[in-house]
Amino acid sequence: MQTRKDTDTTLNQEKAGSPKYWQSLEQWRQDPEFIKMAEKEFVSSPLSSDEGKDGWARREFLKLMGASLALTSFGCIRRPAQKIVPYAKRPEEIVPGIANYYSSSFVDGDEVFGLIVKTREGRPIKVDGNPDFPLNKGAVSARAVSHILSLYDPDRLTTPKKNLLNKERTNRDTVSVTYEDLDKAVVEALNAGKVGVLSKPVTGPSGRALLNEFKNKFKTTNYYFNDHTQGVEEKAQQEAYGSAVTPRYEIDKADFILSLGADFLGAHQSSTAYTKQFSSRRSPGEDMNKLTVVESLLSLTGSNADERYTVAPGEELNFVMALIYSLSQSGQARINSQVKDIATQFKAFYGQHKEAVDSVVSDLVKAKGKSLVLTGGLNTQHEQALQLHLAVQYLNNVLGNDGKTVKYRNTRTGSWGEVDSLSQLAKDIESGKIETLIVNDVNVVYQLSSDHPLQSAIRGLKNVVYVGDRIDETGQVAHYVIPVDHPLETWNDHEPFDGLYMIQQPTIRPLYDSRSFEQSMIQWMTLDGATPRYAGDESLWFEYVQNYWKSNITRGSFDKAWTEVLQNGYYDSSASARDNNLPSRNFNESALRGIKPVSSKESLVLYKTIGLRDGNLANVAWLQEFPDPVTKICWDNYLVVSPKYAESQKLKQGQMVEIKVAGKQVTVPVHVQPGVHEKAVGLAVGYGRSAAGKVADGVGVNAFKLAKFDGKEMIAAGLDYELKATKQSVPLASVQDHHSMEGRQIVVEATLDQFMKKPSSGIHKHKVFSMWSKHKYPGHKWAMTIDLSKCTGCSACMISCQSENNIPVVGKKYILQGREMHWIRVDRYYTGEPENPGVVYQPIACMHCDNAPCETVCPVIATSHTDEGLNQMTYNRCVGTRYCANNCPYKVRRFNWFDYTEIRKPTEMALNPEVTVRARGVMEKCTFCYHKIRGAKEQAKQDGRTLVDGDVKTACQEACPADAIVFGDMNDPDSKISKSLGNDRTYGLIEEVNAQPNLKFLSKIRNTKKLKNDHAGNSGGHH
């Protein structure tokens, strides 16, 4: 029988050597421990001895169960008395049970999102992307979705506070103050002069105008801080072209993209919009783009590369210069003699990496004017960061990309901070120029290294006023802390690109006694007798925004224009200007003088993760339990080392090591990561918060501490370090090794050439016979496809699903036991050798099989089949035998081991009332967003029409920035899903067991000559 033979082959293949697709190094080595674990169905059992330590010994559990059973049996003759509290005066737009949607926006570091916020009975419950907004076009990141949970963060500050600081500037006590007293004290300090304002980037035109007025009124000096890489790119532009702009990169217009350490699909600026653009060119065919990445660590972008090369930290510069050298030698681009001389220094590097450099050069030359070279990010913030940016921009220039894929007009506007703004502030404090500092939501004490002069300078100030949502690390050294409104609670506007305005609309009244920074400024100015120019009668920030828009932005009838803006969420006056090609600028070659080869050395690289980034949302539990797409580890940061380095230093996974950089030291566990250059070790920032709240405090270590202050800026990469191994080790909470696919071939890969010859390359169709009579699906039949060629693994779907479906967070301890609850997970497979493997991501949710193996084993029929093809969970029937999870070939079922529903107030406000909150002892899994299907049907009936394609969008599909997920009714032959299911690349998982899954995948096509797993030159696939 065919099926039998398949299995045999797979097994034999595994026995013969390392598997072709692997998930961890343990599996690659066929570690006996791994095999033991993979063979077990469940990572943990309720009988495990560890349980007792938590007070949940099984016997105790049964006792409690018995008691509550008795209570329910005899106690419920009297009903629970409940109240119904209708509004006294119901707002016209609120109908109980009907959701309202508002357009708003979210600024995350240097990423700007247009949002649609869903509210129920006046409380926001879900954040989705605004499909019309030109930047993210409906896509959101995991962080943008988590925005909702940061609103309901129980650790937010509720009232203004005064810290009673002692001489050492550590906090003795915190007392509440009234706004009246606080404002009096602040205005007094403002009038005394010598005031500095340190602010996060002010991205909106109204905010900028107000800050300017404030500056003129009180003669303040303003400083801006965004992150440690701020201003480098602008400075490079300044030196090369004479104007300091942050260029707009048009990824969708590039046929070939070369990234030098820029994690533009992950933690880089605008990565969600970039993912959208990138994936729009990932459909295999003539139009498919190609991505080559040169980096030292394995980033999300690197893992999506068609071709990838590793270099030692800092050697990205060598690589670019070697490209320029090669171009100058072959004469394929016009390179003047001055640059030629500089590039000649890199002849040796070229010699060592000839094959890689030549291959990239040929791609670059092929796509002249349609290619794009990118760099930037914390992991490239080494001492030569400026030179790297210059060299990259030079390369873009000589390849004819300037003005085409690199746009220098209608770019980012506003005050985003300059290279040395913080060291300037420190100097000004030391020289006595600044005595009072108002900090607007910048956690500098956490984000700066301990040797940065501002650390001591800020503690020596006479007055520090901190505007933030909690008494965080910086709040602790401040005299006054003003609770700031959450962005979903206050008005604001933003201007991500010159001429593109967006509005931030509040969706809930402030939960606490908080006040936005802008409102504070207006308050202080009016208290001092001044009238801000755009302030209205009531001196409200909202009036200011409105009046500013009225005078400066909108045209014609304001009321009409304003309503339109609120509906659309933005006002775009530069769309066509942004789209036009621009003439190439003249590059000032003398800026490249001074570029010298970077020596290849072992060094430490700090990097940002896609989940936590700089750590400002660290107290959001969803993001802590968000497995990093590449390492699949959550709830920790760790030292990322290459397998080779681990071997030479005798380091084991999870072993604690002491890392010392210039006298500063942290102790972290080791994570052995394939694909990392042997001379690089990496550590993620964003962890190690000490004053963020109950979730984040004490998770990981603060890697910012290790950065080096070079007199102007913080250096985060290429750091010299000393490593000392300790004997301790800790388990790292990885979600990777559970959900093992037991060596079966799950992901299908092929090269573009193979695809062009045969679109179904790599897919092996199984002959199966069925003992089942087929279900009938008279109406709709729901199905989903996920295009692996488009999916970048960013995992926004996971958090969107978590938010939509009330999925609990279980914590590190239970992640270690394999009890994570995510309904959709993103599996990551490596292919090829551990030195530089290929990576494939595969999101897995419930497949809603036609012949669902879970349905047949449920003893109480809690999981059943609907006539629309859904595999449905009836929670109140479930008695928790977990047979279904045992029998699921895809391991998508999740069990509520405990009552995860006890949530700290006010987080329960984030729950979606349309989805049942599951209790202890109940199995759950992806429902294909059944409540959304029902909602859409209800709406269609209400409108007196039938359901049309696109009415139902699942939460994962809505969030996906790559547009990889298609969902719909496969009984409708014209629907997108029917077309997608008919694609030659479509295949099902483990089809040989005849479960007939309704979630199918489209094979991954790589735009490369040869696949990493192509040992024998076969076309991938099963045999």
Binding site: I84, T866, R877
Partner: protein, 180 residues
Amino acid sequence: MLKKVIGAVVALVLLVGLPSFIYALTNNKLSIGYNKGYMPEQPIPYSHELHAGQLKIDCKYCHTATEVSRHASVPSLNICMNCHLNVNVREEARPQIEKLQQAYMNNEPIKWEKVHLLPDHVKFNHAAHVRADKQCQECHGPIEKMPIVYQHSDLSMGWCVNCHRKPENNAPVGCDTCHY
């Protein structure tokens, strides 16, 4: 001694209590967890008999969301005030109306006692049933004759399914109809 007493009590409960309990359950003498007939006292003794019965005010005048939402919605005070700012009421009802007006002026919602309670894990949609031309009375009973509202039906699953199963209703009966 104490142990013996406890033992005897337990034995008695098991021998006498349990069989009678099961008898009561299986013979519809006892409906556990359901609240048929529940008639709590309301903070303001609003009479459906008066408003819906005598005055013949349409149900949907107050329960505005019935046709569009899952919830029928208990009226907010501004709906009461549509009439009660103007109409005269009987002498004995005046203090109650004053209470209502006070609450409205102070923007303080009235906390009504919830009468109809579905079992847990069930989703019910008013709009869908109204759209299927179901009369309010089919589930809520003779509401226009109730001076104090009580729960007319037991709202148990059997009660729901009995109606859904009737061929003329053409209603879905899959688990997913109510449980999701």
